[in-house]
């Protein structure tokens, strides 16, 4: 018999602590849509997505209704489009972006990811053209998300790509300056990008994945925050880690249930559950609040990195036993504009870009949803990308950069994206130039850690 306490606890988590399944993401391989005629290829892409994902949104809504669990997003990740674009080098790959956008609209998903290129060791056919087209693609579509992998522990860091991405991030913001620079918010630059990540904007369907797969991203910072709030001030830090583990276990079990059910109903294999704590702009649904709940006056204070390391590790330990396959990014996200506590800490000056960079060494992703002054140079953006990629490369972990240059605005002002992307204060950056370093190009050799065989 299910006991009353368990029932009330679950309902309280959903009603008051923002417990939800953040996303059901269907990964679809588009490798069989490759065609040297881009228009034929786009038709194949559109048809395949619409046929595979026809029932994705309805199934998500049905599961949500029947199980009483909010499922916030239904999304699609596809094969990196550069792999398709390579077959039709004379035409702009933006046609693919528009086909993806139309397909997303038809099936009713929130986002579609995979306007991507993997260039960690160098540019293959289609890669450079696709990267150059990203600003236009993001400006002319509403649902398409883009990512570029510029480094890995095995390959090192492609500094030519790092240099290019500095320009692309800036251009993506400039082209959408009239819409709060939203283009740059849909573009992630990765090191060690996972092939099965269900979270946007960095989701794509890796080449090693099956034809179609269901990945689920759970959430629940609010639940962890509430659980820690119940701890006594005298509880030691091991007790806090245990509370987080137990809570992460419960959250992940719910994600696993939804993933299995979605997989069964859609007749698509279950891929992974991503154990990430993904904050939302809702009050209380904040990773910063968890860190403050552990005893920091404000997120960004000295001690923040240690608290985040503990949180990230405990979430994994709790979650890993709750799911049969764990993957994706799996850890705590720290997107500034999507987290009320981070926004407050950035506004008050407690949280700086330097501190965030240190935090990314121990958390799941990287410098995420950070708004920087509009006059930032492409070289400085490249410098930030290189630093972040180096952290990922050396620590054998995923790191990412999603910076939004606020065109025409300065530090202290704000950009408002609305919805889950939230709003972000413009943060100060170090304006000393890394131009000569960035312009050298070439490849940072893979670190010693890559030699594991």
């Amino acid at each position: 018999m299910i006991n009353t306490h368990d029932i009330l606890e679950t309902i309280n988590m959903i009603d008051n602590e923002n417990l939800d399944v953040r996303t059901i993401t269907m990964g679809i391989s588009l490798l069989d849509c490759i065609d040297s005629d881009i228009h034929k290829a786009c038709t194949k892409v559109y048809d395949k997505i619409c046929s595979y994902a026809e029932n994705l949104v309805k199934t998500g809504e049905d599961i949500s209704r029947e199980y009483g669990i909010p499922i916030v997003n239904k999304r699609i990740a596809v094969t990196p489009i550069a792999m398709l674009a390579g077959a039709c080098p004379t035409t702009s790959p933006v046609h693919f972006a528009k086909a993806l956008d139309r397909a997303a609209q038809t099936v009713g998903v929130n986002f579609i990811g995979g306007y991507s290129a993997l260039v960690h060791k160098g540019f293959g056919p289609g890669d450079y053209g696709l990267i150059e087209s990203i600003p236009e693609a993001l400006s002319e579509t509403g649902f398409v998300c883009s990512s570029v992998n510029i480094g890995s522990t095995k390959a090192g860091i492609n500094m030519d790509a790092v240099k290019k991405m500095g320009q692309i991030v800036k251009a993506a913001a400039e082209l959408t300056a009239d819409r709060d620079c939203i283009g740059a918010a849909k573009l992630v630059v990765f090191c060690n990008a996972p092939e099965d990540n269900p979270f946007m904007a960095g989701a794509f369907h890796g080449a090693g994945e099956p034809d179609c797969v269901i990945n689920v991203g759970v959430s629940g910072p609010g639940v962890v925050r509430a659980a820690i709030a119940k701890a006594a001030p005298t509880d030691d830090i091991t007790a806090i880690a245990d509370i987080i583990k137990k809570t992460a276990f419960k959250i992940t079990r719910m994600g696993q249930l939804v993933a299995q059910e979605a997989s069964r109903r859609l007749c698509v294999p279950f891929g992974i559950v991503d154990l990430s704590l993904a904050p939302t702009p809702a009050i209380g649904d904040s990773v910063a609040d968890i860190l403050e709940g552990m005893g920091l006056e404000q997120c960004g204070a000295h001690g923040t990195t240690a608290a985040l390391a503990l949180l990230n590790d405990a979430v994994k330990k709790g979650g890993v036993m709750a799911s049969s396959h764990v993957g994706g990014l799996s850890g705590a996200f720290i997107p500034v504009s999507e987290d009320q506590g981070m926004i407050a800490a950035a506004k008050s000056g407690a949280l700086t870009l330097n501190k965030l960079e240190a935090m990314t060494a121990v958390c799941s992703v990287g410098l995420d949803m950070i708004v920087v002054p509009g006059d930032v140079t492409p070289e400085i953006i490249s410098g930030i990308i290189a630093d972040e990629a180096a952290i990922g490369m050396v620590n054998s972990k995923t790191t990412a950069v999603r910076l939004i240059p606020a065109i025409g605005r300065k530090a202290g002002e704000e950009l408002n994206f609305g919805g889950l992307l939230g709003k972000g204060p413009i943060m100060d950056i170090n304006t000393k130039s890394p131009a000569i370093f960035v312009n050298r190009g070439g490849r940072i050799p893979a670190p010693l850690q890559s030699l594991k065989n």
Binding site: I2, I7, I14, R65, E66, G68
Partner: protein, 89 residues
């Protein structure tokens, strides 16, 4: 297959009757009911068997939501699997 129905609202006459009438109408057998009144708040947890239901589970949920909206009740209907997954190893 079982589902858990929880109702939280200001106490008034006929809550249990309304909820159980829906169950009866849709063919869901009521297996267990726990209820308590804390000050003037009514809280009830009902376990129902949905395998005998004559409508899909989602339609049953909608029915409960409709009544909830009409009477200002906070009703949750959740499949038992949610609790079994979250609270059992």
């Amino acid at each position: 297959m079982k589902a858990v129905v929880t109702v939280i609202c200001k106490d008034m006459v006929g809550i249990l009757a309304k909820i159980s009438a829906i169950c009866a109408d849709k063919g869901a057998n009521v297996l267990e009911v726990t209820q308590s009144i804390m000050q003037d708040m009514f809280a009830m947890i009902m376990m129902i068997d949905i395998s005998t239901c004559n409508v899909p589970f989602s339609a049953l949920t909608e029915e409960f939501e409709k009544v909830g909206d009409q009477l200002g009740l906070k009703i949750h209907v959740m499949h038992e699997d949610v609790f079994n997954s979250m609270h059992r190893i």
